[in-house]
């Protein structure tokens, strides 16, 4: 059903809009048909009411022929055909009213006949405006839906954020340290708290600076360092020009988690995670590389985290941001290329 017909308020507003439009049509009929104002109103009122409904019909055509994807000529032909048929219909209603009223008004149908060409042209114009309005409304709705999708993707990212197994394993490390080295146990609690607090704080925001995101990653790796000891090594090669770039919050955090979970944790001897960032004019390029064992047992990787990142890039940057995955002999890299907007 048409959205205007879905509730009384919208319907009332729509019909209200037809008072001035109707006035214009009545005026056109009066001027080009030598009718009195009263005659014009009597003839045109039924036609105007019919038109108010006819101008809702582009909704269905517009929805089935979206501007972006449907072929141009198909859009044009469909709307033109509908416009001519419906204009003809409205004019017939007018003619019918005129012939009914002819006995009471002298030669009304004849006088109305002279107004038909100009009137038809105006009706056609109004119909085209209705088509344009419908396309605009559909576009508005689509962009609102995209916004909701982006929000949802962010929420999902947040939920995935504090991975419960990360927490449980960290707590297990703390439980081990309490008797071995109380000082380090306390240190681990502080690191864990730092990470959790920061990830909650950044998670509330839509965008953060690259430097903030990197700091969060560092906190995460500090916690995992306690768990994996010498098995987890890290190298950073970040161009300072990247620091103030704007980026979606917690976008790359899941990548570090993957690097640890599917990479380092599955290697008996551990390995080095390499983080690299460069800035080239308008582009920010970030890569994370970890060694992995191609023969490791499955860790239940289902690519959900990566798909989530891809969705968030798509909803924020359209097609202009990129995520590449490179799998070499024993190295797994994810490379992100984002437009380097500055933080305000």
């Amino acid at each position: 059903m048409h959205p205007v017909l879905q509730n009384w308020r919208r319907f009332g507003l729509w019909m209200g809009a037809w008072i001035p439009l109707g006035a214009i049509l009545i005026l056109v009929a009066r001027l080009s048909g030598h009718l009195t104002f009263f005659e014009a109103m009597a003839v045109m009122t039924p036609a105007i009411i019919v038109m108010a409904f006819v101008c809702l019909s582009p909704f269905y055509v517009c929805r089935s022929l979206p501007l972006r994807s449907a072929p141009r000529e198909k859009i044009l032909i469909n709307h033109l055909a509908a416009a001519f048929i419906l204009t003809g219909g409205v004019m017939l209603v007018g003619r019918f009213a005129a012939s009914l009223l002819t006995p009471s008004f002298h030669r009304l149908d004849e006088r109305f006949g002279t107004a038909v060409p100009v009137l038809a042209l105006v009706v056609l114009m109004i119909y085209f405006v209705a088509v344009a309005l419908h396309y605009a409304a559909l576009e508005l709705e689509a962009s609102r839906r995209n916004e909701i999708l982006a929000r949802e993707a962010q929420l999902k990212a947040l939920k995935a954020q504090v991975n419960p197994h990360f927490l449980f394993n960290s707590l297990n490390s703390i439980s081990a340290l309490t008797t071995i080295d109380a000082g380090q146990a306390r240190e681990m609690c502080v690191r864990l708290a730092d990470f959790l607090r920061t990830s909650l704080r950044l998670g509330e925001r839509v965008t953060v600076s690259f430097a903030e995101e990197m700091a969060l990653m560092k906190m995460y790796l500090d916690v995992e360092q306690v768990r994996f000891g010498g098995r987890l090594r890290m190298k950073q090669d970040i161009d300072p020009a990247c620091s103030d770039c704007d980026m979606p919050a917690l976008l790359i955090q899941p990548l570090v988690e993957n690097a640890v979970k599917h990479g380092i944790a599955m290697m008996a001897e551990g390995g080095e995670i390499v983080l690299a960032g460069t800035r080239d004019h308008d582009w920010l390029r970030f890569s994370i590389t970890n060694p992995y064992d191609p023969e490791a047992p499955s860790t239940g990787r289902n690519g959900l985290g990566l798909r989530n990142i891809r969705d968030r890039l798509e909803s924020r940057y359209g097609g202009s941001a990129r995520m590449e995955i490179k799998v070499e002999e024993r190295l797994y890299s994810v490379i992100l290329t984002l437009p380097a907007g500055k933080r305000k």
Binding site: N169, I180, A265, D293
Partner: protein
């Protein structure tokens, strides 16, 4: 008589908590500490302990693969931060499933279970090997097959298995030109692998779909599958029907 223990966890700290708890017990003797699945299989098969503590996610082999490859009737206790493997662990006849981090009380309760289990007659407690191997959630298929190769462990990725042939209590696995023997029935192997990728063409043969070059008629009710390397495999009437169902009729 003390209980001989092997523990396997890739995290040093996790092993230390375990060791600390075990050291408070007088009847426990730790015979090996392992930091990956290969080491665990080797230690258990060489030392034949009474009890094994196993992490699930470890380098080389995961905890379930370790269970598949050990011969002994050792009691197994899983120790992991993941709760989603509990069902599978008990299906694989684990005595207990400890969630990290665990309390001293919970740990003692677990050891108590183990003591009861070890006092019981062993044969009654031991679970048929096939049941251990079949322990898997429906829809969850193995991506690789682990086989013992003398003292070592060989891993065959599912995609590199050409076919499996039943041989009494064993299956012969053909992969990359070599033949591997594993103590498992062909039916349990069939249920572990993805049914869309492996077809039981015959009572004794399970074949990788991608390796089938063509199927020729043989006699009235039997066919012959010709694999991409030229190997010929008998196809039963039921096997032919299953093949048609998966590949689609010609």
């Amino acid at each position: 008589m003390s209980i001989r223990v092997v523990m396997a966890d890739d995290e040093e700290l996790a092993r230390r908590v375990l060791r600390e708890h075990l050291n408070t017990e007088s009847d426990i003797e730790i015979v090996a500490e392992c930091s990956n699945g290969f080491e665990a299989v080797k230690a258990v098969n060489e030392l034949a302990p009474d009890l094994v503590f196993l992490d699930v996610q470890m380098p080389k082999l995961d905890g379930f693969e370790v269970i598949e490859l050990i011969d002994s009737d050792a009691a197994v206790v899983f120790v992991t931060a993941y709760d989603q493997y509990a069902m599978r662990a008990f299906d694989a006849a684990a005595v207990d499933y400890l969630l990290k981090p665990y309390s001293a009380d919970r740990f003692r309760a677990s050891l108590e279970r183990v003591r009861v289990r070890l006092r019981e007659a062993k044969p009654a407690a031991s679970v048929p090997k096939d049941l251990k191997l079949a322990s898997r959630a429906p829809g969850d298929h193995v991506e690789r097959i682990v086989v013992k190769d003398g003292p070592k462990v060989h891993v065959i990725p599912a995609g590199k298995l050409d076919y499996a042939e039943a041989q009494d209590d064993y299956v012969a696995l053909r992969s990359e030109g070599r033949l591997w023997l594993k103590q498992q029935t062909i039916s349990s192997l069939e249920s572990a692998l993805d049914p869309r990728r492996f077809i039981r063409l015959h009572r004794s043969y399970l074949v990788n779909v991608e390796r089938i070059a063509r199927i020729d008629a043989n006699t009235k009710d039997t066919w012959l599958a010709v694999l991409t390397d030229g190997t010929k495999i008998p196809v039963s009437r039921g096997g032919y029907a299953r093949f048609r169902e998966i590949v689609g009729g010609e």
